[in-house]
């Protein structure tokens, strides 16, 4: 099918299946759908939109058709993305399964694992969380100590994870465990898929500076996990873990891209106003906003460029670290400016007329952008070492 025919088809489909209310900016947490066993739709529109997309496999446009994915080529997927952007369509499903686990299974999983897990990710039936960080292993992730000891056809897992986003809402966790302590710390890590309903798994929410509690401590107390749930080989989980991180980092920078639709100047104009020459009343802020918007556009074009390079066969590798660094710093700066654009009302914390402190809370949340998925400092280390070739 020619790309133009495909574009027409997409436009038709979106017109028919994306309700008006699903074309509005995301305002609160439950405006997005995360799927999973206990998931509830906010309303009928959200449900309709999700099902229409899941049916087509367009929750994961590029994943193979045989697992229920969209099976689209890069060009087709880009058309779908652009057409959705044009209408302002919300993503039908947000999911760590899509951004992180899926790509790792497609590369390292067995055929049985792919058949078992991918369709449920695509159809939003199972919600995943990420069990990487531990109290003693953050940036130094390979220092993790949650242990998995072989016992027949099972492992017995003991230990603690921390900062596990949405652990209390998830059905499954992909976790890094230590299966061998005798050699270099990167060797001896095993990538395990664990059912959150297993006996011995418990979670405790942690409250963030935004006042919300999206992440948890996760405890494993003699949890039995089948050996069939190892992705990649035993003791070779570090390779899987790192590959998954490149996808996580790329998707974090992609989220920044999606969030750029409303220009900052829009908010500034509304609350600060223009002078007779049509320029913003706050000249200092005007310059800062212009500079930010230029950086934002430059970053967006760079994501396009990296996409084209990948299509031409270059691996993304350490470039995902640059993307993650630049994107998250950009997003933090954006919210600093957003506070300046909207003055008092952006700093309020509660009250209906202040949208329950939405902007201030989002501002606080953005501070995590340069911590989650590996801190900015770690990304700079990776760029210095793997792209610039600087010695340790």
């Amino acid at each position: 099918m020619s790309l133009e025919v495909f574009r027409k088809e997409v436009q038709e489909f979106l017109k028919l299946n994306c309700p008006d209310s699903m074309r509005k900016p995301i305002m609160e947490e439950n405006d997005t759908y995360w799927g999973g066993r206990n998931a509830k739709f906010k309303n009928a529109d959200q449900e309709k939109w999700f099902h229409a997309m899941a049916e087509k496999g367009w929750t994961t446009p590029k994943w193979p058709k045989k697992y229920g994915g969209g099976g689209l080529s890069n060009d087709e997927a880009r058309i779908l993305k652009k057409e959705m952007e044009k209408l302002g369509c919300r993503p039908p499903l947000l999911s760590f399964g899509i951004w992180m686990l899926g790509p790792a299974l497609l590369k390292f999983g067995t055929e049985e694992q792919r058949e078992q897990y991918l369709p449920d990710i695509i159809k939003g039936k199972v919600r995943w969380c990420q069990g990487y960080s531990e109290p003693g292993a953050g940036s130094d992730l390979a220092g993790l100590q949650t242990s998995a000891i072989a016992d027949g056809d099972h492992y017995i897992v003991n230990g603690q994870k921390v900062w596990t986003s949405y652990a209390d809402a998830a059905d499954m966790i992909f976790a890094l465990t230590r299966t061998d302590n005798s050699s270099k710390k990167q060797i001896g890590i095993t990538f395990l898929l664990i059912d959150m309903l297993s006996e011995g798994v418990s979670t405790r929410p942690i409250k963030l500076i935004s006042g919300k509690s999206p992440f948890c401590e996760t405890f494993f107390d003699n949890v039995k996990v089948p050996k069939a749930n190892v992705v990649g080989d035993e003791n070779a989980g570090w390779t899987v873990a790192k590959y998954l991180l490149t996808h996580e980092r790329a998707s974090i920078s992609g989220a920044v891209d999606a969030d750029m639709m409303t220009p900052l100047s829009h908010y500034a104009k509304k609350s600060i106003g223009l002078d007779e020459q049509g320029t913003l009343n706050d000249k200092v802020l005007r310059g800062d906003i212009a500079e930010w918007e230029i950086d934002g556009a430059a970053f967006k074009f760079t994501l396009d460029r990296i996409n084209q390079e990948m299509k031409a066969g270059q691996a993304i590798g350490a470039k995902s670290s640059f993307m993650k660094y630049y994107g998250s710093e950009l997003n933090k700066k954006k919210y600093e400016l957003r506070l300046q654009c909207e003055g008092l009302k952006a700093h309020a914390w509660s009250g209906e007329e202040y949208n329950e402190g939405k902007i201030a809370r989002q501002f606080c949340r953005t501070k995590g952008n340069s911590i989650e998925g590996g801190t900015s400092e770690i990304q700079l280390n990776i760029v210095a070492k793997h792209i610039l070739g600087l010695p340790s």
């Binding site: 320029t279 390079e309 640059f322 660094y325 280390n381 600087l390 010695p391």
Partner: protein, 369 residues
């Protein structure tokens, strides 16, 4: 369009690299130290003309190479890496202006630029800062003659020009005229800038332009806009070359210099600054390419993108050259080390056709705030 070079574009780039091997940074020093009156090598310019560079951006129908401004940007970027001065920038811009708006007399002048390397310098700026509109350069009618009066500054290639493309105000509005540089009534002074290149200070004193070629006055606004857009997109490409090369040299030095018994590139304080700069250079490149492509595609966003590209490339070229000098340490401050040449050219190239504040303002205005 595409961020990745096509085979033809790769070929253009390779041939540019080849040609510019004859014009390394050492040549800039040599020209400067020998008080070369042009500030660039005429031999090099002759070779560029031989290779057809003046016609790079022109369509094949107009006798050009058909590479568009994107291709022209490739030449500018490569000349940025070697800091090679030449009348390339003026020529690339003027060729497009004449292709688009010129009459038959102008097209003849264009032929002589393409074939014989004749130089048309663009005389827009007056005074200390860039402004696309004329301020006090005027055309008045006296005794049935049209007389041009005024002074233009920062005229790139003004000191070697055969013709000037001049903007001037008259009672009927702004005019754009091509005048012969050798005419009586044209006085050309030159000033040497920080980058060791010369710029013209050109004054017109009752210059009779009745016989000269005048662009259709209805096109003046578009001509001035196009010049500003093209010049800044092309300069952004040159600045990309400057920052990339300065960065490359800095990274090499970080891998070579030892202090405290270690390679200095192993210090995290330097590593993080280098990694940050890497990212800034990458995003600048994408924006510059996008601006050049937008010009070739007649994208309605092109004018804004050209300003955006100039802002970003200027800032990052400044950062990259500052960091370069700092990371070279004491050596970086010496005239013997070449990193300083990059620092100085980056400043002047940033300023030409409007500095970053000019373009921040232009971008914000275009964006409705």
């Amino acid at each position: 369009m595409g961020y990745i070079l096509t085979e033809e574009q790769e070929f253009l780039k390779d041939s540019a690299k080849d040609l510019l091997k004859a014009a390394p940074v050492a040549l800039v020093r040599e020209l400067r130290d020998n008080n070369n009156p042009n500030g660039f090598s005429m031999d090099l310019w002759d070779k560029m003309v031989e290779m057809g560079w003046p016609a790079t951006a022109l369509s094949e129908e107009s006798g050009g190479l058909g590479f568009g401004l994107r291709g022209a940007g490739i030449l500018m970027e490569e000349s940025g890496k070697t800091l090679s001065g030449s009348p390339l920038l003026s020529t690339l811009i003027v060729s497009k202006i004449i292709e688009r708006y010129g009459n038959s007399m102008m097209k003849q002048i264009l032929e002589s630029c393409i074939n014989d390397g004749k130089i048309v310098a663009i005389a827009l700026q007056e005074g200390n800062f860039y402004s696309s509109k004329p301020k006090s350069t005027t055309i008045s009618i006296a005794n049935g003659k049209a007389l041009l009066n005024g002074e233009k500054s920062m005229v790139v290639d003004g000191h070697v020009a055969d013709y000037f493309l001049v903007t001037a105000d008259s009672e009927e509005g702004t005019y754009t005229v091509l005048v012969n540089a050798k005419s009586e009534g044209v006085k050309i002074d030159k000033v040497q800038m920080m980058d060791a290149r010369f710029y013209g200070v050109v004054s017109f004193n009752d210059l009779d332009i009745s016989e000269d070629s005048t662009f259709n006055p209805n096109d003046s606004k578009n001509i001035i806009g196009d010049i500003t857009n093209m010049a800044n997109a092309l300069l952004s490409a040159e600045l990309i070359g400057i920052m990339s090369e300065a960065f490359h040299r800095t990274i090499d030095y970080l891998k070579e210099r030892r202090q405290f018994g270690k390679i200095i590139g192993s210090f995290q304080g330097l590593q993080h600054r280098a990694a940050d700069l890497y990212g800034e250079i990458e995003v600048s490149k994408s924006l510059s390419i996008r601006a050049l492509d937008a010009l070739d595609e007649n994208d309605f966003m092109a004018p804004a993108l050209c300003s955006m590209a100039k802002v970003k490339s200027s800032k990052v070229a400044q950062l990259a050259t500052n960091e370069g000098v700092q990371m070279f340490g004491g050596i970086g401050m010496t005239d013997d080390e070449e990193i300083g040449f990059f620092l100085k050219r980056a400043r002047v190239a940033s300023l030409l056709f409007g500095g970053s504040n000019y373009h921040l303002n232009r971008y914000a205005k275009m964006s409705g705030y």
